[in-house]
């Protein structure tokens, strides 16, 4: 290794440092201590649902079965038919987003139906998250979508149908990343 080559290497790593972000680091290689795993190993953790439906598990449910689960496990916090109190309101509010007293619910605000399944499965009921079966989560999702008038009462929700549900506020958002598109650059 010639001195000239080392200096060139140093120069190029200094140049890299200059362009890196706040956490610039000299050594870009680690000790390679990660343990390789397979999808079967992390299946229980692989719970995120993409907006195109990727990740939705087998199972199904309807609003009728969802109403039973809701009455047993949800109504105490979210009120009759998702009307809210003491915690978040889940139903109604369509057409209120321009009011100062806006009502943001699954029906009036949430842009993706897949998010309803994803969130209920990971975080609800508050005192027993990840305790519901996939059928129960599909049923609750169907119940909330039907209460909001987004799907029919008898429509079956499953991995195929849920991803196709069009939410009323799907086009109600303006991306702020990487840059706001609704106003001149530089503001």
């Amino acid at each position: 290794m010639s001195t000239r080559k080392s200096i060139r290497a140093l120069g190029s790593s200094l140049a890299t440092l200059g362009t890196l972000g706040a956490f610039a680091v000299a050594a870009q290689e680690g000790p390679n201590l990660g343990v390789e795993v397979t999808p079967a190993d992390y299946a229980a953790w692989d719970i995120s649902i993409q907006t195109d439906g990727t990740g939705l598990p087998p199972g199904s449910g309807t609003a009728a079965t969802g109403a039973e689960v809701y009455a047993a496990k949800c109504v105490a916090c979210h009120g009759e038919k998702g009307a809210g109190t003491p915690n978040d309101r889940l139903v109604g509010g369509q057409g209120t987003l321009t009011d100062l007293a806006q009502v943001r619910t699954v029906g009036s605000y949430w842009p993706y139906a897949t998010t309803v399944f994803d969130y209920i499965r990971r975080a609800m009921p508050f005192l027993a998250p990840e305790s519901l079966s996939n059928d129960e989560v599909y049923s609750l999702t169907a119940y909330l979508l039907a209460q909001n008038g987004i799907i029919d009462e008898d429509q079956v929700m499953n991995a195929r149908t849920l991803a196709k549900v069009e939410m009323p506020n799907r086009d109600g958002f303006i991306l702020a990343y990487p840059e706001r598109t609704d106003r001149p650059a530089g503001r």
Binding site: L33, W110, Y119, F126, G172, L175
Partner: protein, 427 residues
Amino acid sequence: MSEKRESGSFEAAAGNGLLHRRLFLAHGAALLGAGGMGLLSARPAAAAPLEVPAWMKAPGTPMSAYGQPSKYESDVQRVVGGTPNVVGNGVSFTPHHRLHGTITPNSLHFERHHSGVPDIDPQQHRFLIHGAVRRPLTFTVDALLRYPTVTQIHFLECAGNSGSNLAPQPPQAPCGVIHGLMSCSEWTGVPLSILMDEAGVDRSAGWVLAEGGDAAAMSRSVPLAKIMDDAIVALYQNGERLRPENGYPMRLFLPGYEGNMNVKWLRRLQVTTAPTMTRDETSHYTDVLLNGKALILTYPMEVKSVITNPSTGLTMQGPGLYEITGLAWSGLGKIARVEVSADGGRSWADAALSEPVLSKAFTRFRMPWRWDGGPAILESRAIDETGAVQPTRESIVSERGERQNYHNNAIQAWSIAASGEVGNVYA
């Protein structure tokens, strides 16, 4: 630095008693080091005979294994706010009106939990990287502690910080409650680019889903570019391992980005081709404009400042010379300037900035002020190195309306009454 100024004839910098910041630059260390405003105040109280106090007449307490604040400071506490029916879903606020400098003590760093603080056994914790990678990998905490680390000082601000100031009436609460969902720490951790490269990340994938190991499994999408640029898996905060309420044993840290994305108790990163559009990034942490459309994926916390003293929660001690001081920060880089007004924004003067001025970190500013005992309205306005200027509340309200919302970086105005009371006003 003229002889005249050093001799104590201070130059006015702006209206209603603001004095030139060179007062501090020229005299700073000596005056402040010797007791600060006490030396600058107009009429010190008549001296009483000095007696030898009791604590000098017997030895004090011995050493301790883990230090605690003075018992005389025991009222400097986070203010805890919760949500009905769901213990563990809520916030606690950093009492900035009682603190100084730029580093927030670990015990007073603000909290926002969505389902309480998990009690994670570090021996059992695993961190998973999967999705669009060549080799899905898990890491133990002990393994990560062997990786190369970086150390950097950065603020962390909840997107909901200062949100109550968008209500129609200004909340009369301490400064540390109105603006208490922000803190600043020295963070040490492993650059995520190293771990991502080890897993063989597909750099064209574009996005990463980050998930916490709490009961909410709180999850957010992050641009892959940010992950590869300056994101870290933080393991240490202000020199000690993370506190449980700040993500022990590890959290995601994204310099300058809204607090919620800095996922605590980090257990999983999934490389994806699009944002996952989780509950928190769609139904929360979005800002509805007056036209009914909402801003989504708003990441950097933009340029902002607040005067922490005087501020609500404190009371003026009579006319005389004061140090106006506060915090300024920007998620886009360094603070370039902070201007202060004592007359409700009619006239402004530059405050002194305390070095070092760091990117995406709190910068402490100071401004000498001679309070004449009459009404005053104090404001600060920060400008960052990109040229972005802290906006007025009026400009934010004109776009979003007077309703509680996220990402409020508006100028804060404090009213000073002749009584010495400090109030929150919309100037």
